[in-house]
Amino acid sequence: MQKEYQSVKEVFGPILYVQGVKDAAYNELVNIIMPSGEKRKGQVLETKENMAAVQMFGNTTGLDTLKTRVRFTGESLRLSVSEDMLGRVFSGSGEPIDGGAAILSKEKVDVNGSALNPVSRAEPHDFIQTGISTIDVTNTLVRGQKLPLFSGNGLPHNELAIQIARQATVIGGGSTQSKHEGKDDFVVIFAAMGITHAESSFFMQDFQKTGALERAVLFLNLADDPSIERTLTPRLALTTAEYLAYEKDMQVLVVLTDMTNYCDSLRELSSARQEVPGRRGYPGYLYTDLASLYERAGSVHGKKGTVTQLPILSMPDDDITHPIPDLTGYITEGQIVLSRDIHRKGIYPPVDVLPSLSRLMSLGIGNGKTREDHSGLSSQLYASYAEGRDLANLVAIVGEEALSERDKKFLHFSNQFEQKFVQQDFNENRTIEKSLDIGWELLSLVPETELKRVKSEHLEKYGRKFRK
């Protein structure tokens, strides 16, 4: 049921007002044929008798109110999905840009997805080894989790993301079903929103170099691509991810970068619609909108595949209370925070362990999953590092001489923690045992009476050998 109108009344920013439209459906897909014959996509934002407001995903340059034709397709925005998408590169609106053919598939899926029934969700509990100590030991990632990287401009979040994507693997007590089939390596869906060509080619090169491209699907909306298209890109990526995970039993890792650009596009759209702005001009429904993306991570009862999300966002001015990181933190299951101070010390990855958190950690660690001492050790490392960092602040005021012997040990511990535990090479893939052992080795710098959070039998079994 396609209906075509040539009655564009007004173009306002990315929004077209089409007159005389009888019964456009809310959220319906629209094809726009420009005077030049070029085709663009759009979506109905508001519909009422005789008028439809259409949001255009592409550039509005060249639109006019006379010749432009608007075709209402009668269906929602759908993506053709198939396994052939692996190894392919698409634009931010889902067109192939690698010179290959379009994806032909009988399966077309609504990109907005439906809400997963909470009772269908399976509790995520399979430990993912990322090979990065600060994640594996202190902020464990599990399959089906959404764990964002909170970063800032100029920090190496892209390097960290690609290192995680390259190294992520399920080991130990991972679910048995998938292990038999050798499908433990992750398929990576990469959605770029408004990142620069340089950043994008960094990802592409690394994917090509390591051969990971074959098991990846890329959706690229770069900084000079239309900004409104960015509101679509993560939905395409997640739709692909859900298909591969729930229909094709794959373990999928979705990297979304940079969520800040996504939110800015949403704000642009909202202001064009003249909506009442919320904090910092972002729309009041930013939380709901972000949730409709992030909540598409998960694992489902009776399905072998899972969707794990690794969104990246750059905090404007490193401000964690800015609406974007703030609302993200309320939805995601923890966050990995990168710190400029640690970066300045020359430490890679500059993960600030203290504000970082993985909420699902307790589900993925312990006996049979990682190691029995994991929980206590991690908690002890945290507490000791926090104490050391406090002391570092104190030293700035009173000088190191004023510290007691005990306090000096903690200060030394926290420095070594950053140098040996946090610091690792871009290509260094540490096993969980190795990471835990580094933790025990560092704890040998702290007096034994202060180790209140580790069980004494674990100290004997794993930590004793490092203590003099």
Binding site: K48, S76, A115, V276, Y285, E295, T321, K452
Partner: protein
């Protein structure tokens, strides 16, 4: 027939609405999506739709139902998981698969299941609204079937037997009565009177029970930035608090958190009944990706269910996680209606709505005949998620005006993994005077003294910390360094509690009392020891501190014995010359 005129997000506009009422339930469009009229202007109505509105077109029909958004109350509520408008999610999954499809209708209470009904009144007895007609056993709870509101008269044709919720169990005058009744969610269920608070809601969390207790029937707020442990605290309260019924409303929060509740509760055993915790729990789950209008309704659905069980005379605890998401849903809908925004874009009636919600909590005399009084309570505990952790925002402020317990979550505590991350200096409870008698009688007659003393030490510590920040701890006089030591013990050995440790997760009041008492005894003795010229370092290094730190892991029935041994050890150690190191 009313028809759709405009669609834009979750609020739609219909024209030619004749005889529509505010809050009336409507079916929208060909798919018959559920909606509710929220404003009327002549024959034009704004309708908030409880399902995704994608695909709706102008011109589609809108059907009025004639009654307000209501939920079904009766046997079969316990251990069920509902969405924000009381659709049972398990049944929906059976019908439509893992993803929720639109326009699906499943009754909230199972229509086929039969319940064994035992009458408690006889034929020709006079009853009034709220009186108990009989009982059925729902799991191991005596579910009382009550006379619906507005009905009174003479009972006839009542008999024992098994009935479904829609079958007639008796007549009252000429009104047929079934076990199921309906209630409009936005209207509080009637009560006879509000009562004074007398009992605490025992939670097993030391900082809550000992320092900032909530009364049964009380209202508490847990505000905190993300990552400070709101949800862990809420689920812990759902697990361990000594209420008969738990209603847990997951309002706009994470799907995986509901999953965690769903997977752990059936396995956990209720310490009082020895049955799975799920059997006393009702979940209302409207996760953040589910429609925003239903999120707005979910809080009302939850509290109405809570009121229903309260009316039977039970103590109900309602956890709402998070009321900020609820307020944001209100804001979103208000924005779509182009209402004039109040502070931070929230509607001007935000404070009123929050107050109305918390006021539905309370300890009440249930409505019934005067010769058969029953008391019930609803304790409401609302999580608040202030943006950026800034409590000056409208939802936190409006909440603090009505909630009488404030558990202030603190991200700096969470960062150092001090859990529960409740700040002892900022939190308060206004129920302390009302609960004093109960505590002194049931726990210990010096409980309030001990509590006050411990809080005094913590307060003193924070003052001393300011000095330490400037000049270092060594500059303090020795007696003040003992205060720091004692405060550290209170913080680490008493307030810190591991929700994931079997023995530590729940602490009985008696054990809480002995733990504080022991720490304070150590402190008092160390002050004395200091004046007896025992060197400070020896006190600080005392091995007894390690024993005290392990009290957390001592079993309830051994606590008194263990503590009296520690008392003796303290006496010997601090009075002997061994410590003087001469």
């Amino acid at each position: 027939m009313a028809i759709l005129y405009k669609i834009s997000g979750p609020v739609v506009v219909a024209k030619e609405v004749k005889g529509g009422q505010i809050n009336e339930l409507v079916h929208v469009g060909q798919q018959r999506l559920l909606g509710e009229i929220i404003s009327l202007k002549e024959d034009t109505a704004s309708i908030q739709v409880y399902e995704d509105t994608a695909g709706l077109r102008p011109g589609e029909p809108v059907e009025l139902t004639g009654y307000p958004l209501s939920i079904e109350l009766g046997p079969g509520l316990l251990s069920t998981v509902y969405d924000g408008i009381q659709r049972p999610l398990n049944e929906i999954r059976e019908k439509s698969g893992d993803f929720i499809t639109k326009g699906i209708y499943v009754p909230a209470l199972n229509r086929d299941k039969k319940w064994e009904f035992t009458p408690t009144v006889k034929n020709s007895q006079e009853v009034v609204a709220g009186d108990v007609l009989g009982t059925v056993i729902e799991y191991n709870l005596v579910h009382k079937i009550m006379v619906p509101d507005g009905v009174k008269g003479k009972v006839s044709q009542i008999k024992a037997g098994s009935f479904t919720v829609t079958q007639q169990i008796c007549l009252i005058d000429n009104t047929p009565i079934t076990m199921m009744q309906r209630w409009p969610v936005r209207k509080p269920r009637p009560i006879k009177e509000k009562k004074h608070f007398e009992l605490p809601l025992v939670t097993g969390k030391r900082i809550m029970d000992s320092f900032f207790p909530i009364a049964k029937g009380g209202a508490a707020a847990i505000p905190g930035p993300f990552g400070s442990g709101k949800t862990v605290n809420q689920t812990d309260l759902a697990k361990y608090s000594d209420a008969n019924i738990i209603v847990y409303v997951g309002c706009g929060e994470r799907g995986n958190e509901m999953t965690e509740v769903l997977e752990t509760f059936p396995k956990l055993i209720d310490p009082t009944t020895k049955k799975p915790l799920m059997e006393r729990t009702i979940l209302v789950a409207n996760t953040s990706n589910m429609p925003v209008s239903a999120r707005e309704a979910s809080i009302y659905t939850g509290i109405t269910i809570a009121e229903y069980y309260r009316d039977m005379g039970y103590d109900v605890a309602l956890m709402a996680d998070s009321t900020s998401r609820w307020a944001e849903a209100m804001r979103e809908i208000s924005g779509r209606m182009e209402e004039m925004p109040g502070e931070e874009g929230y509607p001007a009636y935000l404070g009123k709505r929050l107050a109305e919600f918390y006021e539905r909590a309370g300890r009440v005399g249930c409505s019934s005949s005067d010769d058969k009084p029953r008391n019930g309570s609803i304790s409401a505990i609302g999580a608040v998620s202030p943006p950026g952790g800034d409590l000056s925002e409208p939802v936190s402020q409006s909440t603090l005006r009505v909630a009488r317990v404030f558990w202030a979550l603190d991200s700096s505590l969470a960062k150092r993994r001090h859990y529960p991350a409740i700040n002892w200096l900022k939190s308060y409870s206004l129920y302390l005077p009302e609960l004093k008698n109960w505590y002194l009688k049931n726990v210990a007659d010096d409980f309030y003294e001990q509590r006050a003393k411990a809080l005094f030490i913590l307060q003193k510590e924070s003052e001393l910390q300011n000095i330490v920040q400037l000049i270092g701890p060594d500059a303090l006089p020795e007696s003040e360094r003992l205060v720091l030591e004692a405060a550290k013990m209170i913080r680490e050995d008493f307030l810190q509690q591991n929700a994931y440790d079997e023995l530590d997760a729940y602490t009985s009041l008696k054990k809480q009392y002995w733990m504080i008492k022991t720490i304070l005894y150590f402190y008092d003795s160390s002050i004395k020891a200091l004046s007896n010229e025992i060197p400070l370092q020896k006190i600080v290094d005392s091995k007894i501190k390690t024993t005290i730190a392990k009290l957390k892991y001592t079993k309830d029935d051994e606590i008194q014995k263990t503590c009296s041994i520690i008392f003796k050890d303290i006496d010997t150690e601090f009075s002997s010359n061994v410590l003087r190191g001469e």
